[in-house]
Symmetry: D2
Subunit: 248 residues, 4 copies
């Protein structure tokens, strides 16, 4: 079933409405009452605490989707989509699917075009499929296929890789991307990034960066004490030719 | 006129084709010859250096648009769009327009919906308009209007502010955003962010962060020596109610 | 009593020897046996696990001293001492003492000169005093005195402040520092730093910075996932005159 | 000759007094007049601009010493000395000397003990020697010797390496450090750090970090726009045994 409503309390705690009576930390809300509510309206729990009905946005989906421990953050999803130059209508291949978090983000942007996502593991594909269904994401196509063996689609705007051996995909991407298209690899380790960089050739313009997000506590006007120090290195490679032989 | 082709050399130097003979650092290329080329093909300068024809992507537009000194970076544009939950069809108001760089980015994402962008200065609006024309951005509507005096549109998914006094827009945004919609303010100074934070009330859930991008030199596997240390602080505020009175 | 020996296991777990039988997670070691050991030798617990006897260094002291939640880190202590230009023989006043952690660090550097440390709270002074005794720090003098009311000592090389209202000390520091001497303020909040900056006048050259330390996991060659995002902002002000009236 | 006076203007511009007439951007000051001045007093140029006489501190030395392009920053010198647990009386070997900047810093701290600094290149040793002389640093001993072939001194508190192949020194350091002593390697590239890490064995406890300093512009209360993104990775290894065979 599709999740179309989220209930949120005044502190920002969120509950997905799954068409069942909802048990919050402030008591129960009947499914019937939630069904009668429009987005923007409020309902009360049996002890009288107010909850607001909102529509699930990408932040909610990223938080509430069933996800593995290494699932991508909103920061990285946004940067990848931006640097991959994705917009409504872009043709993008993504691999591996994992729990489908990145695909949910990309699908919103390339709509009505669909995202093609390669995943070798059946169990991951199943989790991702459920996530797409729940959040009403209709424009993702999961392919149970090893991208190290090739890319089927032609004329792509972008290929996005979050894989242990991204260098194995470079030649396929060089063949299937439009000239000017973007190949992005996201790697936790700088050693993988280095190997990926080394395998790119003069057909690509490239840069590698990391991006660190630091939250501020605005009540005392200082950065929060602790932060995520690292998610991954992003290499952006733009195909500018198919036939160069030299290495740089 | 619209720019539909960019010529790029092997080092990544780019030239916009403006339907005139193109003077590169490796000599001249005739307009005729470029017109005959499809994207993906190569042409030679009069001294024989090869250039590839590519289509302009968002990175090119951000680099080649006429822009002021404070124009937004791709990193920030991507993060703002991501945290504002923008996707194909989103209804967004942006202000101020400036040279229109952020609007170019947003327009690609919300297409076929249009971006509404408020700018009080005629001269900026003119520059932005030219940038939209050149890069073929058809879905941005510039309003020469002071957003501190109100927002005309209803039922918005997001309001994005890059203004000296963003707090003056909070009440208008609270009125015109959908419940669950996002108000984002981008400020270079932490003092502005603090004032914006202080003016938000319990109707919004909020967080403030900064995001620093560091490039790596992958030939020697170390961060590049110098970097941009700061662009701005981003405050993301999500409207969860319209009627709360209390401050937190 | 003075702690002169630390026992360390193969994973880096450390135990201070307090002249009593030592109860480790690998069993007990008799005080007698430790007393017979020289630094560099090993002893065995009653179940046969080896521990090495080492001398306590500054890192150990910072870890093992009784300390409050906000006690300074080694990174900040090192930067403060470096930017304050401290070396053997420097005359430095520090305030507030807190648990004395920074004083322990400074005392090692300025020896045989002594550190003068101002603390208004008796209970903190007592804790600090015990820390100095335990680690054999003989060259710190604690003054139970409010530094907001003045500095007694003349001809100082440096004044170091970790206080809620550091600006109240500026005039005293300007009077008691040598020309060319350094006044440093360490503040968690940028608002305090701003107020301190605003109160400094043309008699001081100044800079404010923050310094973020990120650990790497060298087994996988990537930054560790989480880090301390912030400790404090450091303002370094050098007295270059006593009589300037103008503000800059 | 030894530099004992620096002249500083109101903007912080500094001139070393070399016992000659001083030519500033505000005109000339006679050597005689400077010689008559005590530290803390002011002199006027021939057009009447005031300069203050100050004593050279470590910051001045680091700025004014003849130095190579890669000479260590004050931030790194301070962190290295702090993490190496150096204080008055510590016995430290440093290599390579380069222009002697780090040695100047260390010499102030370990005084009256002397710093032993190994340099293989005669020309560098000569530059360093001049720097020590100019700033009156009497407790550094330069050895023209390849540290890859061994360390002469025994019973060391710390060994500090800023070398292309620091791993070649690990066994010598393990032999000549006291148990509990510190071996530090500073490397620009993470690949060198990785190799150093890999060569350390269970006799050392270790950590690797980088530390990034960001200046703030306190007039507008925001970080300065640009910064140094990277200087080097610091690996701190503490010798806790000499005889472990296992690798971890």
């Amino acid at each position: 079933m599709k999740y179309t409503k989220i209930l949120i309390d005044q502190k920002g705690r969120k509950y997905i409405f799954k068409n069942d009576d909802l048990h919050t930390k402030d008591g129960m809300i009947k499914a019937d009452e939630i069904n009668k509510c429009e987005v923007g309206e409020t309902v009360k729990t049996h002890i009288g605490t107010e909850y607001t009905v909102i529509y699930p946005n990408i932040t909610d989906m990223l938080q509430k989707a069933k996800r593995g421990p290494q699932a991508i953050t909103l920061k990285d999803a946004a940067l990848i989509a931006g640097y991959a130059n994705l917009h409504s209508g872009s043709r993008v291949v993504n691999s591996g699917t994992g729990s489908g978090i990145l695909d949910i983000f990309l699908a919103g942007i390339v709509y009505p075009e669909k995202v093609l996502t390669y995943e070798i593991r059946d169990d991951f594909a199943k989790i991702a499929g459920k996530n797409f269904e729940r959040f009403g994401i209709g424009n993702v196509e999961i392919k149970i296929k090893n991208i190290y063996e090739g890319i089927d689609e032609e004329n792509l705007d972008a290929v996005i890789l979050d894989l242990p051996e991204p260098w194995l995909v470079i030649n396929f991407a060089a063949e299937k991307l439009k000239i000017g298209g973007i190949l992005i690899s996201f790697s936790p380790s700088i050693e993988q990034s280095k190997k990926f960089h080394g395998a790119l050739n003069m057909n690509f313009l490239q840069e590698t960066f990391e991006c660190v997000l630091r939250n501020w506590d605005m009540k005392v006007v200082r950065p929060c004490s602790r932060m995520i120090a690292h998610t991954g290195f992003i290499t952006v490679a733009r195909l500018i030719s198919r036939n160069k032989k030299l290495k740089f």
